[in-house]
Symmetry: D3
Subunit: 335 residues, 6 copies
Amino acid sequence: MMSKIVTFGEVIMRLSPPGNRTMKQSHEMEFFFGGTELNVAASLATMGCEVQHISCVSDDFVGESAVSFIQSFGIDTTFINKNEHPLGLYFLEVGSSVRASRIAYNRLNGSFANIQPEKIAWKEALEECQYFHWTGISPGISESAYEALKEGLKTAQNMGIEVTADPAYRSNLWKYGEKGHEILKELVSYSTIFIGGVNEINEILETQFSSDKEGFIEACKELKQQVPSVQRIFDKVRIGVTASTQQTQGRAWVDETYFETDLLEINPVVDRIGTGDAFAAGLIYGLKNFDDEKALSFANAACAIKHTIPGDINYSSVEDILEVMNGNSGGRIKR
Amino acid sequence: MMSKIVTFGEVIMRLSPPGNRTMKQSHEMEFFFGGTELNVAASLATMGCEVQHISCVSDDFVGESAVSFIQSFGIDTTFINKNEHPLGLYFLEVGSSVRASRIAYNRLNGSFANIQPEKIAWKEALEECQYFHWTGISPGISESAYEALKEGLKTAQNMGIEVTADPAYRSNLWKYGEKGHEILKELVSYSTIFIGGVNEINEILETQFSSDKEGFIEACKELKQQVPSVQRIFDKVRIGVTASTQQTQGRAWVDETYFETDLLEINPVVDRIGTGDAFAAGLIYGLKNFDDEKALSFANAACAIKHTIPGDINYSSVEDILEVMNGNSGGRIKR
Amino acid sequence: MMSKIVTFGEVIMRLSPPGNRTMKQSHEMEFFFGGTELNVAASLATMGCEVQHISCVSDDFVGESAVSFIQSFGIDTTFINKNEHPLGLYFLEVGSSVRASRIAYNRLNGSFANIQPEKIAWKEALEECQYFHWTGISPGISESAYEALKEGLKTAQNMGIEVTADPAYRSNLWKYGEKGHEILKELVSYSTIFIGGVNEINEILETQFSSDKEGFIEACKELKQQVPSVQRIFDKVRIGVTASTQQTQGRAWVDETYFETDLLEINPVVDRIGTGDAFAAGLIYGLKNFDDEKALSFANAACAIKHTIPGDINYSSVEDILEVMNGNSGGRIKR
Amino acid sequence: MMSKIVTFGEVIMRLSPPGNRTMKQSHEMEFFFGGTELNVAASLATMGCEVQHISCVSDDFVGESAVSFIQSFGIDTTFINKNEHPLGLYFLEVGSSVRASRIAYNRLNGSFANIQPEKIAWKEALEECQYFHWTGISPGISESAYEALKEGLKTAQNMGIEVTADPAYRSNLWKYGEKGHEILKELVSYSTIFIGGVNEINEILETQFSSDKEGFIEACKELKQQVPSVQRIFDKVRIGVTASTQQTQGRAWVDETYFETDLLEINPVVDRIGTGDAFAAGLIYGLKNFDDEKALSFANAACAIKHTIPGDINYSSVEDILEVMNGNSGGRIKR
Amino acid sequence: MMSKIVTFGEVIMRLSPPGNRTMKQSHEMEFFFGGTELNVAASLATMGCEVQHISCVSDDFVGESAVSFIQSFGIDTTFINKNEHPLGLYFLEVGSSVRASRIAYNRLNGSFANIQPEKIAWKEALEECQYFHWTGISPGISESAYEALKEGLKTAQNMGIEVTADPAYRSNLWKYGEKGHEILKELVSYSTIFIGGVNEINEILETQFSSDKEGFIEACKELKQQVPSVQRIFDKVRIGVTASTQQTQGRAWVDETYFETDLLEINPVVDRIGTGDAFAAGLIYGLKNFDDEKALSFANAACAIKHTIPGDINYSSVEDILEVMNGNSGGRIKR
Amino acid sequence: MMSKIVTFGEVIMRLSPPGNRTMKQSHEMEFFFGGTELNVAASLATMGCEVQHISCVSDDFVGESAVSFIQSFGIDTTFINKNEHPLGLYFLEVGSSVRASRIAYNRLNGSFANIQPEKIAWKEALEECQYFHWTGISPGISESAYEALKEGLKTAQNMGIEVTADPAYRSNLWKYGEKGHEILKELVSYSTIFIGGVNEINEILETQFSSDKEGFIEACKELKQQVPSVQRIFDKVRIGVTASTQQTQGRAWVDETYFETDLLEINPVVDRIGTGDAFAAGLIYGLKNFDDEKALSFANAACAIKHTIPGDINYSSVEDILEVMNGNSGGRIKR
């Protein structure tokens, strides 16, 4: 049975002063392992799915710790390579209320950026794979990461695998060339499910649709026209009141039909990082187990509950997420 | 002068990962000692009352630490026994916003569950006692805890002591037999003050009153009819918006009269555990020092301020609580 | 070019149990160095200004740590003396929601209280100085602190330096004599810019103006009448909903004209201490770089963002503050 | 190829105040997962072996965390059951120098003690297994743990698997009956490799051999006589100078021949727990890869280096252990 | 029965950066309550004695925390006063090996220094008292502390109480007058047991005996000649190899006879503070329960084991100390 | 007066799990800023010298924190540039006893590796400079770091500045070309004082002198022959017993004369990193203030005491070091 989910992307370490301290006020930092695609993998594994993550980490005790962390979820790490470059990492100062969070990256010369595409046995890795998930971060990191991913996508397409794309464009990446938008469009053309909305479509197609419902529908139509491989489009709208309060809502365009979820409010936000990945993981789980509308609601609830969990990864079970989806909003103690 | 307050119940250790972390994300845990009746005792001692706690702890350094902790409040520990069973404990993952908190217990084979009723010299322990407080947790833990408590209640009744009952029914207890509701009703029949409302009455009497004001009044009437020892009924209504926001209100049925307090809002909630016990302690203090209406307001304010204090115990002074009761809601620094 | 800012005041250590714990629940404390005038100095230095702080610290490793901390901002510490008295300090239990924060001081016999006025070479220290900043805390600590400050103010007036006064009256100071109000009025008479509002004016002039806009205008007129050296008056109004939520607004009386800023809301409050000092620093920076109205808005935004930063000091850059002033209220991650 | 190693035993949580603090001096505890057989499994997995651990954990988030921890080593957890009893745990106050460490257990009514023997599919679990490892802790915990283990040992014997026995007798176990010595002797009779020395033999055979070399040889002869399944005997001698200094040495009786290793000294001891398990794991690794004498030296070095690692488990690689074995005793930094 | 032990002295807070960090390297500090006489009291209470401590603390939440701490030992705090001065405290940077520890005090204007002698009801406090213990710290802090102590000593002498004196002279005290040596001699004249040796005698009598055995005997003879109230003299000799290694030995002069204990070595030293107080407590316990020689050995073992415990106080039980005294030096785990 | 000391080199962040934990066992890390030349600068500034450090850091909040840290010592940071590359860093797992420490670097593409030589105004920077200090780390990091340093050395030589060289060869550097030994020899030819011994000379000259005293003398003679600019040679011999115990000794060859210091032992070692830099700083301070022999002893004592201080930097005062030099080895408390 083809039920495995495969993800590909950087394993990155996050380092953060405790609480809302600035780095100048600290002598220690918390650290978490994550990475946008690994976050999806780990959330899916926590929900009970069979998952494999493909990456390249540093050949030192930092890389070993990262692999150990990934194994703790029961994720298959067979296809994680190692090289002599350091593991990518970033520093995070956590904002609050009117103060934004700040990130400083150290990833562009790391082990993943220096991945060797020819070292990944994609055919073998994608055996029994039902869903392959990628994001726009990987091709933005380096040319070889782009090449590796493209090879994977081609293989997936040939093997008839459902491909979920989260093609966010990040302007602080793409240092190796100026062709980000084109590359993302190219890579989306290997994908069947688009996780994103007006912002992402505008970036890829270099269009200027508005971000309201109508704009979303027009953008979806344009995307399906220009990139016919895309069959379904699911998006999450984040309404960020402050660094400490958020609202999330899911919307979708499937079979020429629009639908959306209820709005969920999170106050206070414990950790905003990885909430989009929680949405993607929730969506993939939902698509495997529910109909498309319920999948979207489940994804939105997964996104909401992630805001309450420290670190990059959604540690929630399916049952936890269903409770949020069904409106049991937390004011209890589960004994 | 009979002014001592005596409480009886388990001393339990609470272990919790820091902040909102899950256990999987942690290598250390905070710990607190507590226990629903001890929480009442400690809050009353902090308010300056003379208090004695009766229990049974483990005969090891964990039990010694618990006793040391109880002594730190100036509580009399003379009647705390020790045995060879481990101290009861529970693990708590603290939720936030839409995420509920989770508890995992390890208490049913602990030192309190194995208390030997015959080892408690109730008569001696209750000398000079004005108020004796018990809750529905103790008899749910084990048969011997139930026996010990019943003996204490009989003695208290014979000595004419005011007995406050907080007879919450917890479905995850009562593993030693199926008769929880009946036992609670039996034990309430030794009590003069009932701390609870529609939920508790419905559980004990196996009735189905509604939880609004009218239902509360009807339930109180029925309770006084069926259990004539009960003279006064005081309840706290918790309106839990999320794991991070709460509202509390007190209501009472005394002398065939209904009265209620203002609603107090707590945002954010620092710690929800022990807020009911803070209410009970505030009520007992109030009944000793104020009239019944002011006692209820004081209890409600005590409940509210406990939401802002980590751990199981309300560390507030009488003055702190009066300030909350009088609407000075915290936006100052007391220098 | 006269561009230096000079501040004078106590360097004080703050000790605080972690989170919202009470001291009884703790075995460790966080510590921060601060002090109302130092907070202004450090915020200005963080914004890129040339700053000098004048004080007296303990001649031990505690005092050395304090000086090292001040140097970390690039502040000139040449005129910080040392003596054999211990560094002033205070303990802080951090409240939340309905619970107020509590402070216990240990400063009245410390190194600053025992400063020797004759040891400060004011003329030399104030060379190249554009702004000299003082607060009502210093003269309240001890007679010698008052004498030292008065000498500094006289020198500043003679040298034609712009003097900013934040003359808050704290009733828990002034133990060395009963003449607080008079002394503050005397010291304001050396100042050109008054940072304060109705409360401060009422205290100094022993008047009873109301705290609304009209009262503020009347009070300002009266102050300028009685203390003609004061040319401009800037105030921040704090609307404290609870210990966890605050609103701030700036208002001013300049050239017989009233103006005010928008209201900014902070929820949750991370740390309330030093928010007034952040306002003062923002104001001085603003007056050096913007017109008076923009200066007031900048000061209000500086005050707002400080509520989100642990410790006494505003670590924000000019750019950070401008973003808050311009309404970018934090719901983003700056990568 | 039969290369898998299977271990069976309790997964236990260790809780410890930080540093050398007593529990009374602490508000937090570090925690580690371990368990004598799991420690062996985890060390072997870290050395690159294929390992499976069989156990029973609690069906709550504590048990989930334990499984996640075990997976982080890449250990196969397929045969770990869950039940409604709490995970076993113990508290540890860490001694130093002249002060002994103290342990308080909470395990005798835990999930492993309540394991259901019939739920383990031993035949399936032991497929491809080359070594099966057990210790004297498991049968001491409860009758059902004993039954489960005996079933496993019988299966292993039938399948011709090499069985390593570490049959330490702990007097604080064996509460369910008085027959500890006999049971251990019975279980050793299914084993081929005996990890233990004079103490263990004296306990099992109820003999009184002396602990010197001659006594060791006589004891070994007697053991092989009485329990003929045992083919090889390997022991570690611990010379405990203080809680902070230790010396270890290995000795063995194989093919009627005695051999021993050099003495290794560890000063200071970071953590003594699990050093015997590190020896056992080193031995099994050694027997799989080296001759018996080198295996013993490797085991002794593994035991030594474990004393420098916090927690129950030896996180050392084969290369790390070989360095200690070859006398490179740590005074370098490996860049 | 006269069995109570009463101690009198400052309650002081110790603040220390974690590990061996300097203050400049830290943002947090551990804190402990202690004080040389309180350390004796707490150790005796831990050994099961009935103890009362007399002092004066600050009337704020710091003082309340101190009292709560003292109560946690079951010590009677009835005669602890409060005043408006801050609690005394000191900062400690912990040395290691060749680096000495450093202390900075803040106590000379604290609550104990400002104790009001007339507020202590000595007669009432010393009822049922068998031993009264004082040290040379108290009279060095302030004149009023001296007066209070003298009043207590007079009362004790009149009531025939055994008085133990630990009259160490600290040169960083005695700021209120130059008569330290004389005052100590005066106060010793109310005492029956002298805890100290050549150093202390030389300071009090302004003699120059050598520190070897002969010098010790001569010094004892001279002391008994000049201060006839002293009947027995017990001393501990500390041989400090480095900040991390220590040796201790007890010696005594009783009934014109010299005796000494074995030398005990502690490596590594966890905490040196309070080891002299552990000796004094061990001695008092020993004198109450053993003969003089065994009492000295017990005191020396108590001193040794305290070196392994963080903070100021010896948390060891009588059993723990006896084990050290009997040479069971720690290399075990007590399960 | 030419009295300033100038250092040039990378500012690097060190990240380390707490205590002796491995990274796999941790969720947080301590961090310290350092860097071999900065360590020298900071130690000299702590001893009261006027110091300037030249470097290049990241243009983000990590770089800002580093500069703030450097300023805290009063070091002049005027000539520290910023660029868009991340700050160099390394991870450290701290060994103990027989376990070696392990380091994983992330520095070869960092901000210092990408320093732009033309951006350093060497002439201006070296004004008033008496000593310029460099090490073999900088030219090993990148070609541009090498170029920048060479330019600085040429300028220093032209200005007649005393140049101290610590030309350690690290094999894990020099990735940009294979010419390490030659480059170091070239750079030493601009230097007047050589800090190093047989190892360093053998590496630079590609000779094979033995490491005993005779070998040292021969090596020194050969070095002075081949590189005549070198006038004095000072070395520290480290005798590493284990990761927890060390001995250090200084030796020198000056004016055709050999001299050496006493051996100092450190047990336990708190932190080995930066001990060589402490030696270099002690030496430079000594050469400025003492004769050469005393300078060497002072340097050796500085090296010894650094082993007791966490982090990369020697926080000791001149007085602290003199005490170690004079044999007061730490077993006291400095009050």
